[in-house]
Symmetry: none
Subunit: 137 residues, 2 copies
């Protein structure tokens, strides 16, 4: 079984806590090659998204991607965010939540690091996910 | 509305991640006046508990308390743990999980619960590695 990341579990936890508390969950994303967001709202490589139930539809935090649809300036957009590119999830009202180290998507064509050439080819490369957690009140 | 703590949400997240990953979730608890655990397993004011589905029944992480029943040396015991007294939840197999600052219950005049001491004190389970908030993949 492939090793599961704790990150989607922790993001769901903060999302649920926000909604149960009546807070608005916000997501900060470092945009990479796999991110599908309205680029006109990206600033300094990052986008901040309101992911509250009022703002989005078909919201899902999966093991690899966060997916939802939302309206931007009146236009419906389908959003796709790799879990690894999320740098924070928090309540807009008080900033409580979690931040993570971002692990940019490995784009096809990039070479995985090879330590020893004597060993057989490794398993399909997996992104190393080592988010650190901060700001848990 | 009373302010909700993120802690039970984060504990449920790590618990679910452990179970989905096939790991055994362990809980480290700093025993205080409201904690109901077999005192013969408490060492240096702490107890480490296996909270995996095989080890416990009627397991529930509520907003204020963790509750379950479990067998200790053959005897069924009802366990009650204030959320604030949990110092860590992690996978036994690799130590991944979260640690928390403990907020002991302040109960004026109360004494720690005392359970039967007529059972021999077996070795409590020990974590293989100290869990850390920073060590989350």
């Amino acid at each position: 079984m492939q090793e599961l990341s704790t990150k989607p579990y922790l993001m769901r936890a903060i999302y649920d806590w926000c909604v149960d508390s009546g807070y608005t969950p916000y997501l900060t994303v470092t945009v990479d090659a796999l991110t599908r967001v309205p680029m006109e709202y990206v600033k300094d490589g990052q986008i901040v998204l309101n992911i509250g139930p009022i703002a989005v539809e078909r919201f899902k935090i999966g093991g690899e991607f966060i997916e939802f649809s939302a309206r931007f300036n009146g236009s419906g957009r389908e959003i796709l965010i790799p879990v690894g590119s999320v740098s924070a999830i928090y309540a807009r009202e008080n900033g409580q939540g979690l931040s993570f180290e971002v692990t940019p998507a490995e784009v096809a064509g990039s070479e995985p690091p090879v330590d020893s050439r004597d060993e057989p080819p490794p398993e399909p490369p997996r992104p190393s996910r080592k988010p650190s957690l901060r700001r848990v009140k």
